[in-house]
Every structure is written in C-alpha cells, then in structure tokens.
Symmetry: D2
C-alpha cells in the first residue's frame, strides 16, 4: 500500500473552519493509554500527563488527539504519542486496528460517560506499550507513572477530566489489571 | 443517561456544507453486516443488499451510513439497519461498542483496502444478528441471504465495491466461519 | 458442520477422575454475565445469582461452568445459561467466539485476580443478553437484576467470590457502562 | 501479584496421564502467529514454521502449545514462542489477555474448522510481534517469513494442517491485512 501524507494541521483546516466542522459532524479522535509492560506483556505502570488548565486547575489525561484528513488511524496514534511523550518514547502501536472501546465525547454532559464542551468527538481507544524514554512535551507539566493499583485510586481518577477516568478504568479492565 | 436527539439529516448539514466537510475531516461511519444466527449464536446466513449504480452496474453491500452530529454510535447502527432492512428487521445491536475492526475508506485508492471516491471515511464495523422480517428499502433492489460459504465465493466478493469484500471476509473471520 | 453430542456429565468423567484432572491440567470454563439490553443494545440491568455456601455465607455469582469433552464453547454457554436461568431465558449467545477477557482462576490466591481452591480453571468470559423469563434453578436462591450503577457498588462486589467482582467490572467496562 | 512457577512438563503429567486427560477434558492451548511490524504497528511479514511429519509430508504451522497446570496464559505464550523461535526472538506478548479468536480443535473432523486427532483442544489465539532474531528450534526445519499477501496464497494455506490455514486467515483479518 502506498504511503499517506496528510497535510500539516495548519494547512488542512483553518481555525474557523474547524470551529464550523465541530458544530456539524462528529470529529474522529484517538485516545492512547501509555503503559510499561514486562516481558510477559503484563502492565506494570500507566503513564498520565499532568497539565494546567486555563483557569488554574490541574488535570491528568491520556494521550489524545484528532485524526487528520487523509491520515491513517495508526499514523495518528504514532503522531500523538510522539508529540506528547517525545520522539524517543518508542510506542508499540498495536498490530490490530480493533480498539478496546470507543469513547463518545458529547458537548452535552450526561449523554455518555464522556464530555467535551467544544465538540462531539468519537475516539478510538487503545492501550499502547512504550519502551523508550518519555518526556512530557509542549503544554504538559509532567508525565507520571502509576502502578495499576495507584491508577485506580479515586484521587487520581478525580483529576482526570471529560470522563477520561472512565476510559482509564476501561483500559485497565481490558488488560486485566 | 439522557436521551440524545440528533437533528434530522436535512437540518444538520446542508449538502454543500457536507461537501466541504468531506474535503476537510474524516467522516465517521458505521458498517453493519446483518446475519442470521441459530440458538447457539452460530451464523447461518449473511445478508447483502443489491443495488444498481448510476452507470448500470450491480453492486452488493453491507448496511452502511454516517453517524450524525450528536448521535450515538449505537443509535446510528439501529437507524441505518432499520432504514435499509425495514422497520420489522429487529436488529440485535451488540451490547459492546467495541467494533470487530475499523475500515478506513480513503479517497485515494490503494492507501488501505478500502476506497470511497467521495471522502475519507472511517467506519466502525459490527456484525449484527437480525431476528425479524427484512425487506430491502429505498434504493436497494434486493436483500439476499448467503450461507457463510457462499458469501466467501469470489463471484459474490467481486460484486462488492469499495473494499467491502474485504470487510465481509474480516467479519466472517471474526465470527469464526 | 456436523452437530456435536458431548456425553452427559455423569458419563464422561467419574468424580474421582475429575479430581485427578483438576490437579493436573487447567480446566476450561465459560463465564457468562447475563444482561438485559434495550433496542439499541445498551445494557439496562445485570443479573446475578444468589447462593448459600456450605458454611452459611451468601455469595453472588455470574453464570459459570465447565466445558465438557467434545462440547463446543458456544454449546457450553447455552447449556450453563439454561441450567442456571431456566429453559425460558432465551440467551442470545454472541455470534463471535472472541471473549471479552479470560479469567485465570488459580488454586493459589494472589497469582491473578481470580481464585478457585479446587482447581486451576481458565474461563472464557462473555456478556450475554437474555430476552426471556429467567428463574433461578437448582441451588440458586434468587436471581437479582441490578442497574449497571448498582452492580458496581462495593456492597454488591463484596458478595461475589473468587474474584468475580473483578470479572463483573471488566464486563461492565467492556459494554461501556 | 506473586510469580507462578509451573512444574516442569515432565513432572506435572506422566505421558500416560496426559493420554487419559486427553480423552476426558478439553485441553487448553495457546496459538501465536509471529509477525514483524513497522513503526506504525502494520504487519509486514508473518512467520511460519516448517516441519516434517512422521509420514514424510511437509507442514507449516504457527507457534502452538499447551498451557500447563498452574501456568499463566501469558507465561505459556512466552514459553512456546521462545521454545519455537529461540531465546533471542523478543516476542511482544500482548498487554491484553483477550484473544482474537478461540480455535476449537476436535478429534472428530468437521465439527469445527479445526481438527486434532489426538485430543479436544481449545486454543486461545494471538498475533504476536517479534522484534529479535528468530531461529527455528527443535523439530522445526525452517522458519519462513511471508508477506501478508503471500501468506494468504492457496499454496501456503494448503501446507498448514489441522485447520491452521483458517486460523492464519482469521489472524490476518484481525490485523486488517
């Protein structure tokens, strides 16, 4: 199969065009839960990004981002993981495109477990082992690694916005920890 | 959770707006392979729609359609199944939102197995048992039921456009027949 | 494919032979979480069996049982669901044999989330919608239906033995509630 | 969780005991399809083992073997991959225990797609990326790598015994190639 070359984000959609699209069609996303695994594939820790919101709150999140026009889902996964965890993260993108779940973020709270005031986004969710060195990039303050037990704690889940605490629990359930 | 009420298709997106969106963002679809199952859940037959294309060719297809703004994926599945198979089809929408695969239809042929000249569409694919009476609706000429063995035949697959033959094979593999 | 006819349980394995096998090889099980769904496939309630243990405690459990020699997994699922919920339960056995997880019950506590003092059992776990009338059979005192939110409560999970509380949470995560 | 230490194969089950068990209960297996993937997780090649059968025929197969008493499924996967591909193969055992399918090998041909004259075996099937150097071990003559397209050819599938050609097709369908 030939290689795809999605146009760069600035080229393919002007900010106001994106605003319009966000009011009209569901926007396709990918969510990736970065994990460390042992030689048997068992998840030993889960990586969460720490960010400051505009209003001064602290939130934790998984790696998340849009799929661009003419971009493959697996390319989008790799791009967002490298963007958030750095170029040396060495994510192991799953061989199968089957997500462990889909997260439906609605602009109206309460329709599903997920909420995004900006848009109706539908996200394909994956658990992705990373093997290299991870460094928080751009707007992330920190990247913290939690044991599966720590990651399930109320105090951690409460810091995750938009329903991503539910997504994290679903991902942990999927890997059996 | 509160009920969602997506606006009707004519309201939410004017045709020219849809054309614009189709050139800018991946459009979210659902694909559903309708099947008959026995009491043990074993697939006994597969339903394919027969349509005439504008240029006089005959094509077979699975049930397929867009997810609307503010519409849940499972609502879109039910809506398209009832639209194509009739109101008495009684589809059993899967309890889990996990699709068996995602089909990435690119406007450029050859990027993936799937092709759609109109747009970049990403489809969540499900196998859906139907228990009621199915009648082809609207633009479909016929609905034909094939045994799993018949459905795998080259002559059938060759009549399916846009890579849906591959999707059908993947769905049959998923149900183990 | 031809129909299988597993020998009846009493015929195929004498109790002492079963005891021996249980000390030597992993025993194959199926676990089924019975659910009610709406027309969109959304899980509205979860069925749990209430039993009295030999020592007078009350435990809740999902439908669970062995796969017999020369029995198909989907036949075992149907058999155990009808045995525990009655012949009118009308379970909708999934079309795909892909379980949402496997539960590894070890005779030694703490190896995995699951524990069975009698044996090393590996269970294929499914969420199974039931559409008919369910009546607790045999040794079950009651069959109770819980909303997905109720089923996640600590008080319910605490009554489930052998790690089945974890299995229930994994099943609920799989169906996205 | 504590580490499991399954007894060595010779200890836990004498050959005649295994013969007896094989006539009485389904035997739990794992099947692993070894693959090479690119940085986006796309499968670029599939590894098949070439063996000579007792009667002088040549067969191809995936990695396959029993789960031992008190052994975790992911431990069995790692053990069989290292046994067949060598200690430097570096298999990436999946983080999730969810198999892409289960293969039910019946001693009677025609019950399912799978057949094993020795026993009723139920196998949990996984696609496993391997990153290191693979060398055929023990009784395997060769390990050959095929592109996904080559692996689907009739000439290759025809050399696979016991229905493993079907399993290979299901695995390739699962990874979308």
């Amino acid at each position: 199969m030939t290689q795809t070359t999605p146009q760069s984000e600035s080229q393919w959609l002007a900010p106001d065009e994106l605003e319009v699209a966000r009011q009209r069609v569901p926007i396709l996303y990918v969510d990736a839960i970065p994990v460390r695994v042992d030689t048997q594939g068992m998840v030993t820790s889960v990586g969460l990004l720490l960010r400051a919101t505009g209003d001064g709150r602290i939130t934790r999140s998984v790696v998340s981002g849009r799929v661009l026009y003419h971009e493959r889902v697996r390319s989008a996964l790799l791009r967002h993981l490298e963007k958030d965890l750095g170029p040396l993260a060495l994510p192991r993108i799953p061989a199968s495109p089957q997500p462990f779940t889909i997260a439906e973020y609605f602009p109206t709270p309460g329709v599903t477990l997920y909420h995004d005031p900006r848009q109706h986004a539908v996200s394909l969710a994956y658990v992705v082992p990373v093997e290299g060195d991870c460094e928080p990039q751009q707007d992330a303050l920190e990247l913290n690694w939690f044991s599966p037990i720590e990651a399930r704690q109320e105090s951690v889940l409460a810091e995750m916005g938009g329903g991503q605490g539910s997504l994290l629990l679903q991902g942990l359930a999927h890997v059996g920890v």
